[in-house]
């Protein structure tokens, strides 16, 4: 086994996860806010828009990841000049298979904010925008960051399809290791080291995320 290849693969996975999570939030966060505020009892009820967005999000979430990859191929070609074979060709399919999920996660986090706080801000004279930026998002911050961490780990799971398009990353690396050693992979310590490294990567993402969550929560903080 070539260990430098292993570390390149780990790095590719981490990079792809971070970048596509960022991309997914770039669209998913505003979409989630929109889904939340246009609800029937929301800050700005717009039932028709809400129904359309909701339908669109549900459809996107129902398409299996590998199918999204196929559907995205032409677009990836336009963007990167190639549809497969490099780590960055994963970005667009990962974005499309996760931003709708992100929107739902965001919507749920915002739903946890007590409506009394929204009303308090309204009676202080807050506009819809002010309510979103001064109350809704700050009060949902902890839940939003938890959702972000869970999403990143989820996206890491999605990167498995990279094998199918030759886009690299640690999961594809493990799969190809298996295909080369189908009879003996379980007896090989190298295989288990690869699994261990993947677990460590996931734990790293989760640990960093949850630490930020804990630090940002002021609900139990001792005076600062």
């Amino acid at each position: 086994m070539n260990w430098s290849e292993v570390f390149v693969a780990l790095g590719e996975t981490l990079l792809v996860v971070l970048l596509s999570t960022a991309l997914a939030y770039l669209v998913g966060l505003p979409l989630g806010v929109l889904l939340h505020v246009t609800k029937r009892n929301g800050l700005k009820p717009l039932p028709v828009l809400n129904a359309i967005l909701s339908f669109f999000v549900n459809v996107l979430r129902s398409i299996p990841c590998l199918i999204v990859v196929v559907l995205c191929l032409p677009m990836v070609r336009v963007f990167f000049g190639r549809g497969t074979g490099a780590w960055y060709t994963m970005l667009i399919p990962l974005f499309f298979s996760s931003f709708a999920y992100v929107a739902r996660v965001v919507e749920q986090s915002l739903g946890e904010v007590d409506s009394g706080k929204i009303e308090a801000a309204k009676s202080l004279g807050a506009s819809t925008w002010q309510n979103i930026f001064y109350v809704l998002l700050p009060e949902a911050r902890v839940s939003l960051l938890t959702g972000l961490t869970v999403t990143a780990v989820n996206i890491l799971g999605y990167t498995a399809f990279a094998y199918n398009i030759g886009a690299g990353g640690i999961i594809a690396y493990i799969w190809s290791y298996y295909t080369r050693n189908t009879g003996s992979f379980q007896e090989s310590w190298e295989f288990w080291i690869l699994i261990l490294l993947t677990v460590l990567l996931v734990q790293l993402i989760q640990e960093v995320g949850l630490r930020i969550v804990k630090k940002s929560d002021k609900r139990k903080a001792i005076s600062q």
Partner: protein, 327 residues
């Protein structure tokens, strides 16, 4: 001139009337209590005043101008003058106490430095200066409500709505919050509209009171008028709580009302002068508008002759009384 005028307000949710033709006048400087059982429509009524709910019919006037009507929603700028405190405080848990108090000022576009000054002053007024940098989760219920009051008064409102603001607090904290509200009313001339299902809360600070029952306003007037001689059944049951049951006809009692500072031993006198042995059901004193009122409920004598004698005696000695059912 009336500061706030509610004209024939109607509101229903899913076909069920919550407010049915409610009209109410509130003057500047009033501490107006709105009393009623839960579900009577009290919350909806104040929420209509500051535009958190929209009435189906009727008008809300503020300082003579239409604040809201079915065809006109309250303007955002107009909300500033009418602030509100809530039973569940509704503070931002992820913001410090100071940031919470600054929220309204930030919304109104007051520059950072100025709003800090105003917020600190408001916190000082409610006695929580040293908690400015704490987070709400570390505060007691009473302190949280003080922060909410500071947040409201930072905007220098003309009216403060209180929606069961003391209902989640223990009796001692309740008294201190009520005392604070009374001080603010006296110092700043701020009108307070106070919703409660607890008559002792209303009794403690209000000068006027209205009673809501099943979407209708059934009694209203000065506190002494309504509390000393409630006319409706719901008024009686709210004011005497468990001591009197107007529905029980066979058990008759007589409620006596007198100057609470009197030295006259009323009951002893009745026993002596009428030679009637009376049994006492309930007695208390209420301080209303600085005057002490005593009220005593005694069992009515079972013989008609004795009852007439007692009534004559009371009339002669100018003791107000009424017949009530007792439990």
């Amino acid at each position: 001139m009336n500061q706030i005028e509610l004209r024939h307000i109607k509101k229903s949710f899913d076909g069920k009337a919550v407010l049915d033709d409610v009209s109410l006048n509130i003057e500047q400087g009033d501490i107006y209590g709105i009393l009623g059982l839960s579900g009577a429509g009290k919350s909806t009524l104040v929420r209509i005043i500051n535009g958190l709910e929209r009435q189906d019919e009727g008008e809300v006037l503020f300082e003579g101008k239409t604040l809201s009507s079915p065809s006109k929603a309250i303007e955002r700028e107009e909300r500033k003058d009418i602030q509100m405190i809530f039973q569940s405080f509704n503070l931002l848990e992820q913001s410090s106490v100071l940031k919470n108090v600054e929220l309204g000022l930030k919304i109104q576009g007051v520059p950072r430095k100025e709003r800090r000054e105003i917020a600190l002053k408001a916190l000082e007024r409610v006695g929580l200066s040293e908690k400015a940098n704490e987070y709400p989760s570390l505060l007691s219920g009473g302190q949280k409500q003080r922060v909410a009051i500071a947040r409201a008064i930072a905007l220098k409102p003309k009216v403060l709505l209180s929606d069961e603001a003391t209902s989640a607090l223990d009796p001692e904290t309740t008294s201190s919050i009520l005392a604070l509200l009374k001080e603010l009313n006296a110092e700043l001339g701020i009108t307070i509209i106070m919703i409660s299902h607890q008559m002792n809360v209303i009794e403690a600070i209000c000068n006027k009171v209205a009673i809501l029952d099943q979407a209708k306003l059934v009694e209203s007037g000065s506190l002494s008028d309504v509390f000393l001689s409630p006319k409706t059944k719901i008024g009686k049951s709210l004011i005497y709580s468990n001591h009197v049951n107007t529905a029980l006809e066979e058990q008759k009692g007589i409620r006596l009302l007198f100057d609470g500072t009197t030295d006259e031993p009323l009951i002893a006198n009745i026993v002596q002068d009428c030679s009637l042995l009376v049994s006492l059901v309930y007695a208390d004193t209420k301080v209303i508008d600085g005057k002490v009122y005593g009220q005593t409920i005694i069992k009515a004598p079972s013989k008609k002759k004795d009852l007439e004698k007692l009534k004559k005696y009371l009339t002669l000695h100018e003791v107000k009384f009424e017949e009530v059912g007792i439990q």
